[in-house]
Symmetry: C2
Subunit: 298 residues, 2 copies
């Protein structure tokens, strides 16, 4: 990560380590089916940008609570993200062989194992939130409610369904935005909300600001993903570039052009930063994360 984001670099250095320690401890190798455990660990512990956990940690910090409070919600969100990638990569879905420069889960194992690994990562996310004795029961319930609603039939999975149905079809910008809001945006926004819940404070204005920040950042993130898919090669991305064109998907660059897409992402980044403008230095890691999201090249 670049030197121009010092507060983000600090958050990242501390938190990615916390997250990966947590994933390592909470995805044991010796469950009742060891091949399944290996596939779960393969899917969750193979790197990645860890954007969603960083948003959880950043929001908990902004809400004034210690980072340790964010460990379980950050892990749970990452498990939901990992499950969705394993299932989205399957031959019947996006049929991708490469993820983060490595064979996808069904390539490294097999399809049946990948389906079950996705399923168990999914279950484990809710189990971790339910079992985390550090939070009050009503806090845990709030987290499970928000995460399930963000990821289910009116959230992430609906977005994937809309995405599958849109293959080969020309979409409107509005339909494309709705799809991305569901598929990517809701999990990004819920990451910030879970980070807020982890602080167990009562500050509706902060929750609202984090939600607006998340909604703007989520769409900016997706526009940048579309831009990278047409401007970068496979080695730089760690996954096949040009895959949107291969799947005949509408993208922001294909509908708006590259320059207008970049401008749109820049404006969303500004909106995100305005949402947290009143929070000063404590918001710096999140503010820099918003900037990084559109400055990144992978």
């Amino acid at each position: 990560m670049s030197n121009s984001f010092p507060a983000l670099d600090t958050l990242r250095t501390t938190c990615i380590n916390r997250l990966e320690t947590s994933l390592d401890q909470l995805l044991p190798e010796n469950t009742a089916a060891s091949r399944l455990s290996q596939a779960m660990r393969y899917a969750a512990l193979s790197g990645g940008k860890r954007i969603r956990p960083l948003l959880v940690y950043g929001a908990t910090t902004l809400a004034g609570a210690p980072l340790a409070k964010a460990d379980i919600p950050a892990t749970a969100v990452e498990l939901i993200h990992a499950y969705s990638l394993v299932h989205d990569d399957l031959p019947a879905m996006d049929d991708d062989d490469l993820r983060r420069g490595q064979p996808t889960c069904h390539k490294a194992f097999d399809e049946a194992t990948a389906i079950l690994a996705g399923d168990t990562l999914h279950t484990r996310a809710f189990e971790l939130l339910a079992c985390n004795g550090e939070f009050r029961a009503d806090t845990r319930i709030a987290m499970i409610r928000q995460l399930s609603q963000a990821s289910g039939a009116d959230g992430m999975a609906a977005g994937q369904m809309q995405d599958m149905q849109a293959h080969g079809q020309q979409q409107t910008v509005a339909a494309l935005e709705e799809m991305h809001f569901l598929k990517t945006g809701r999990l990004i926004t819920v990451s910030l909300q879970l980070g807020y819940f982890a602080a167990e404070i009562d500050d509706p204005a902060l929750l609202d600001a984090l939600t607006r920040f998340g909604d703007a950042v989520g769409l900016a993130f997706q526009i940048q993903d579309d831009i990278l898919d047409v401007t970068m090669d496979t080695e730089q991305l760690g996954k096949p570039s040009g895959s949107d064109e291969k799947h005949a998907k509408s993208t922001f660059p294909s509908l708006l052009g590259l320059d207008a897409s970049r401008e749109r992402a820049r404006l969303l980044c500004e909106q995100a930063q305005e949402a947290l403008a009143g929070y000063g230095e404590r918001a710096a890691p999140l503010q820099q994360l918003a900037q990084y999201i559109i400055a990144r090249n992978h």
Copy 2:
């Protein structure tokens, strides 16, 4: 159902209707992706014996609470069961075309939709438990914890993984029992536990008795399933008979013979009934459900 189980018949008449009304209301047709909603409803509302919901209702009744208390936990358990069937039927898993006399979800829709429908039924189960304002937060947490542990990497999904790995292999009876305990037994036992939690009482002896009842009934259920697979034809079963042999699976009849398998199921049924022997008339629906499980012919 036979006339020899009057208390069970009464429970069944009332509760299946309650359950299906609940499923119908809680799986709306108009979510953000209507094809996905249709597939979820197809998978959850196509009949079935509804054994797990009946166990929830039976346990809530035995714990002295009104049936209405059991609606959400019964629905949640059935959604987890439905999700597991949709994924288990996929070509990469058991590759079954027929379920309850109807095309399986991926045959009626397509594989991608079936994967996502399973995923969203799964999420919805936890969402319903988290959002159910009728229970205290700690009751909801207890339900989510038990259900996630019963269905995840040390429960149902691990059992399916063991089952896949055992194809074509001769197993020991102990390994077969462990696989079935995980794959089927844990969700059956957790149904009884959720029914107990729904009453929001503090009676550890009852929880223990229900757990022992569930563990015995779960294994009896599976042995009977294996027996039916070799003794019934496809039309009677509503799913392909002889499928265990087709998948070269070890079964209780193949390892023990038919007579010893029947005797084993009968003894387990007796054990189940002993577990609830002290609870008199209020336990009658569950006692008869245990008898029905080994008397059934589909």
